[in-house]
Symmetry: C2
Subunit: 229 residues, 2 copies
């Protein structure tokens, strides 16, 4: 029985949620059968018993698991014979540190660069919700949040320095191969790739080469999702 | 035979180098016998065969090892039966990511807050060297670099957010106990503790509580060094 992944969807079947990408890459890493259920922002409350308010959520047989971190832990525990997402105990601490770095520093920097572009690509039924919730959070219009992004792009690049230096030494955050820490960071960059034509990282940046490697992982599950034009 | 650690020294026998603190905590973590050799900036070139230009350097029997990361790797390889500095392979990746984060983000933010205070505490013989080299790097006077630090302190606090969030979940970066990743970060904060009276972190910050735990580790080797008044 395939695992079901409730996956945020935008217009043209675009899947851009960084957190859903973490879960999807984790499922692919484990080599598990799964199918995605495209879920609009305003449909999340209708998943199963209606107790969920964020995606990703997975259904693995009778078990429902929410939150990308908890999903990774579930997969690691339930499928210990499959390739590990953490490598070992220390690898879990790596993923945890990277998670906080991505969520506190990287994703907040990215959202201000692309939020209006994301809005343009959410489904018509979700547009009101998206604009209202995000404008409430930022205290200004999506257009104002995104404006002047060319200057802020350099700040993102500086914030990514630790990752850049690491990837000058080794092909993945997890070392020779990818671990969940890679997928957390990959999700943060797959999100703008799918939802915005704005280029965040220069082609000659070691981060761009790593991102291309990630897109090719597990049969190219990341690359199969088209980049925004 | 005790291992010798060449350790940067300031006035009043202050040891403030963040990199030397990494090495010293690593030696203490391993429970190894070691003695420190206080070394002035302008004496580094006289260590052993004169090939060194930075500290820490250790002499472990016939072996001379330079660079705090290489020292940690050496200790891990040479003393595998002692408590591990990396925990396991994934823990080494954790330490590597944290190292780049500390060196690219944290330490560059800290140096602008305390560089003049550090200058005030280097030995008279080192003052010219310290001022010249640092002012060359910054392109302005030490006084100008440090001025206006009260505003920049908030930027450091924001940069430390990933660490703060992590330490709300677990007592050490390495999980239940400290690993080399903790010592890398500890070194970055022990440096201003020893070399400046300026308070970088609020008392109620989870980072402050973690730092206090680190000061108490291994018989209080960190706390034994007095804070700057």
């Amino acid at each position: 029985l395939a695992i079901i992944l409730y996956d945020l969807v935008g217009a043209d079947d675009r899947r851009f949620s960084p957190f859903c990408w973490r879960a999807r890459m984790a499922l692919a890493h484990k080599g598990l059968d799964f199918e995605t259920r495209p879920t609009r922002f305003t449909e999340i409350g209708r998943i199963a018993d209606g107790s969920q308010n964020r995606v990703p959520v997975i259904e693995d047989g009778a078990q429902m698991v929410a939150d990308s971190w908890t999903i990774a832990e579930h997969l690691e525990t339930a499928y210990p014979q499959r390739p590990s997402l953490f490598g070992d105990t220390g690898g879990k601490h790596l993923a945890r540190f990277v998670k906080h770095w991505v969520e506190a520093i990287v994703q907040p920097a990215i959202i201000t660069l692309v939020v209006k572009d994301v809005y343009d690509r959410v489904l018509p039924e979700d547009k009101d919700y998206f604009r209202r919730s995000r404008e409430g959070r930022f205290g200004k219009s999506l257009e104002d949040v995104q404006s002047g992004r060319d200057e802020r792009r350099a700040a993102l690049s500086r914030a990514l320095t630790p990752l850049r230096l690491l990837l000058q030494e080794q092909p993945f955050i997890g070392g020779e191969g990818p671990l969940f820490a890679d997928y957390i960071t990959f999700g943060a960059l797959q999100w703008p790739r799918v939802a915005s034509p704005f280029r965040l990282v220069n082609d000659d940046d070691p981060i761009a080469a790593w991102f291309e490697r990630c897109l090719d992982l597990h049969g190219g599950v990341g690359r199969a999702m088209p980049a925004a034009a």
